[in-house]
Symmetry: C2
Subunit: 245 residues, 2 copies
């Protein structure tokens, strides 16, 4: 079991955003969603629809009537805000914040707060946060919405968990053995000898090296080699048919 | 100028997704959007609305009638797909793919292909891609939509660009000088001496060290120290008022 982090939405306005937050969290194995004074029904059908299967997160979400109540059991609070406020507060770029949070989460409970869609977190709430997570964006176009912030933070968090590694132990290609590869190359060489591909025989060593390099670069599988062998045979067949005897 | 990468949407269905893709790209300084056979008007008002200011990307998007035409000038093609196909192809976890792409982009043009919302890229198109980018998600809940895939890939790309660094050279706190800090600590110590805070004087050295540690840990600014000095004065004032003479 990985340590969890808690996402706290403060006065979210749109059910489709709440649903999209649930979906984003579920993708990254995050399940502790808390909502402070939602301005809509968090089980509204639009919320359920945009959660696309993660609506169990909406059903399990705890609703509170104050940030204080929603965060009472947590140790570290991170705020999110789209724009830099005039506030003396440590702004951490998302990847750096997640490194810190991952270490803290070993021994403490972490909450990440998200403000209302239109205004973001009030300064009063930000001042209660220990640090602020800043999502890096193009300074010329900065427009991250609630669910996008959640998905980016969730993604960075997920990359640090054990589940991330478990994602990538499949889909390996199984290389052909050297024996199969050699048989294919021998056949090809023989065909090329017979069709006088090299033209001048002293050029053959270098030309053959270059061709072999193409095939070794390909990381061919047994099936690939059977396919290529079929290609050669098919070309030879049609050539011998079309050639005058 | 950073190297660019090209995002190619193949037969996107929903204008709001195309708009969300444009918005996601603009956040991460990506501007080369190409669309193959869109199944809707890419300048539909829903697309423009969800682009929230990045609709210039929709206006500039090139529309093609085949993947071949859309990718003709590119060197490396990366496919995206939600599920593992039975195909011999290198699947790269997003962070690793972006490292590779960043190196390739120094000298070659890169295209990343995204399939239709419902079905993803057909195997026929995937087989034309050099590699496949896999977005790491919880194996128990994997549901990333088109715009979410774009925002995650855009974000990882952006982190490798020079613009990322430029994002974080502001918002530094300016620490108080040691002289100001010392004046505050001296005043505090004097107040505590006068109010007999230490009770037993031999405990003072350790207690005072602990208190000093709290204040140095705070990374206080000049303004913070003025505020704290005000707090102390206010408490002293009310205390001396309420104390019987």
């Amino acid at each position: 079991m990985n340590p969890e982090i808690t996402f706290i939405l403060v006065r979210p306005q749109l059910p489709e955003n709440i649903g999209a937050v649930a979906r984003a969290m579920a993708n990254f194995a995050l399940h502790d969603l808390r909502i402070v004074n939602p301005l809509c029904d968090i089980l509204d059908k639009k919320a359920v629809a945009t959660a696309t299967g993660a609506d169990y997160l909406l059903g399990n979400a705890q609703v509170f009537d104050s940030v204080e109540a929603a965060t009472a059991d947590l140790h570290w609070l991170y705020g999110t805000c789209a724009t830099m406020r005039h506030m003396i507060k440590e702004y951490l770029p998302l990847p750096i914040a997640i490194q810190e949070i991952t270490e803290q989460a070993e021994s403490a409970k972490i909450g990440i707060l998200f403000g209302p869609e239109r205004t973001g977190l009030e300064n009063d709430i930000l001042s209660r946060c220990h640090k602020i997570i800043q999502i890096p964006v193009d300074p010329d176009f900065s427009s991250i919405n609630l669910a996008q912030a959640v998905i980016l933070i969730g993604y960075e968090w997920f990359k640090q968990t054990k589940l991330f590694e478990s994602n990538f132990n499949h889909g390996q290609t199984t290389l052909a053995t050297q024996a199969t590869t050699q048989r294919f190359l021998d056949d090809l060489e023989q065909d090329l000898d017979q069709t006088n591909y090299w033209r001048e025989i002293h050029k053959k060593p270098l030309m053959w090296q270059n061709l072999q390099n193409i095939f070794t670069r390909l990381q061919l599988t047994e099936q690939d080699l059977r396919s290529l062998r079929g290609v050669l045979q098919s070309i030879k067949r049609s050539t011998s048919l079309s050639e005058p005897d």
